[in-house]
């Protein structure tokens, strides 16, 4: 019986309109979603446990209202949930969450912890390997495919110049890319069942350990420098091709 813990994070929807005022990010706080990379991590854990038997526990650290994202994980098919409740509106960094999760996992037994490779709002990509380090677990990052082989996880990992197959013993930790599956959309039945699934609630303040702290400071937000507006060309394909090739040569000096 393989036991997976999948770490889910609630993140702002990157498609929601946003505005910056005096360095602060103003965004519809109602538009929060399950981090896309975590959805892929969960999908893969579900596929593996459906095939080999086992259990999937979803763990989320976040404020009270992030529970809806944990529910989504349960509706997708996780067997049970753990909600580590943090203070509303605080800007925590990856080391804080990794510290919190490490304190939670310290006395747990499991085969694998699975994380997203990064949060889709901040692209930090730190929590997974931080957590592995804090728990002294072997780990592999940026998985694009997972296979189970006698309680070992074969991780196909996307590196800079190609892919490699890494054998990860249990207990271990893996971080997942979204390039390995299409996460399932919860069915109506799944949503109904999710309401009956057990969710353990833990106050973040009750978890202790050294290093549950943020070490970076978010100073504010700003717009990216605007690009000069460009030009759009329509018409006969051959003429367009010749015109643009000419401009790239004469105007941009790129030939």
């Amino acid at each position: 019986m393989i036991h997976f813990y999948v770490c889910l994070k609630q993140v702002p929807d990157v498609y929601a309109p946003l505005q910056i005022k005096d360095g602060e990010l103003i965004q519809d706080s109602g538009r929060m979603v399950l981090n896309a990379y975590d959805a892929s991590a969960l999908e893969e854990a579900l596929v593996l446990t459906e095939k080999h038997g086992g259990k999937v526990t979803a763990v989320l650290a976040g404020p009270e209202k992030a529970k809806e994202t944990l529910r989504k994980g349960l509706a997708m098919g996780a067997d049970e949930g753990v909600h580590i409740v943090t203070e509303e509106g605080s800007a925590y960094d990856s080391l804080y969450y990794a510290g919190l999760l490490a304190a939670f996992f310290r006395d747990k037994e499991y085969h694998f912890i699975s994380c997203g490779k990064q949060s889709q709002d901040t692209d930090a990509g730190l929590t997974g390997s931080m957590l592995a380090q804090l728990l002294e677990l072997p780990y592999a990052t940026n998985a694009v495919g997972l296979t189970l082989e006698d309680n070992r996880l074969l991780v196909k990992r996307q590196g800079d110049h190609g892919q490699e197959m890494i054998e990860l013993p249990s207990p271990g930790l893996v971080t997942c890319s979204n390039d390995m599956n299409e996460p399932r959309i919860p069915s109506l039945k799944g949503i109904m069942q999710s309401k009956k699934k057990p969710v353990e609630t833990i106050q973040a303040s009750s978890l202790t350990g050294d290093g549950i702290r943020s070490v970076t400071t978010l100073l504010g937000y700003e717009e990216k420098p605007k690009r000069e507006p460009g030009q759009k060309f329509e018409g006969d394909p051959e003429e367009l091709a010749i015109t643009i090739a000419g401009l790239l040569d004469s105007k941009e000096n790129l030939m």
Partner: protein, 325 residues
Amino acid sequence: MSTLLTYIAVHDGKIKRSSLEVLSRCNELAAELGWESVALVLQPDATKAIEGLKPYGPAKIYTMSHPHFHQHLTTPLLRAIGHAVKEIQPRVVAFASTEGSKDLLGALSAAHGSAALPDMSEFSIDTEGVSGKRPVMAAKILSSVRADGSPVFVSVRSGSYNPEEREGEAAVQELSFSFNDADLRTTLREIVTATSDKIDLSEAETVIAAGRGVKDEEGRALIRELADVLQAGVGASRALTEAGIYDPSLQIGQTGKVVSPQLYIGVGISGAIQHVAGMSNSKVIVAINKDPDAPIFEIADYGIVGDLYKVLPPFIDEIRRIKSA
């Protein structure tokens, strides 16, 4: 004296340009602060990188040689960098942001109980720590961040700085490194695929990116031909890497690689924010798309509305003509 340490990535015997970019920025900051900028190379025979590194002017080059550094193996790399940090006691350890450094940054930060600032598009250093900017929200905006303490682990997006040669004769110091294979906690079973492209996408001066509009062998051949006449690197959108049409290492974007060429030509790509996140710092952006409302046209310097199968052949011919003139 305080020290800034740059990790130098080497692939196929070649020092990565993105590492030289980071080293050059550290050199500049060290000069301002009166500190020392040094470099660290981990290779099977790290001394081979010395000559290539010297012109970029680190005060010192630390080498560590071990057969394991031939591949990306997490445990030996963490152990080696940890050892170097202990020996050198740097205030900052800077990396080019690559899949290789992304694999290590969090673990290094947690192991040292100190901060990591990943994927920075600019950074500065003062006596307290590191500050700078990084793109967030699928690179739609920038956030300003800061980390105090020591050492701070920083990674820098490729193309954020220019590699600059400078005067000075670097001292070379070999750091000893031994590794017991019983400590390898994961096993590298095999290399599944390795990109055969001669041009490294993240360093390419010109990038041709293919999207879903490139449907078939004919389309791929046109992309190849255009890349050949322009001596460009070929990249792709997720639509095509996911479909197995292009190698996943070629994906450009939030999940894939960041490119910052002089010229980016997107062919049959809609311009989804997650793709744009990886290419919006290109100097000149050309888009070929048959849909006049495709979002890519909002950021393209030159937008060609048309069918790629009709536009590319005369485009390639004309470029060839200009080149041979």
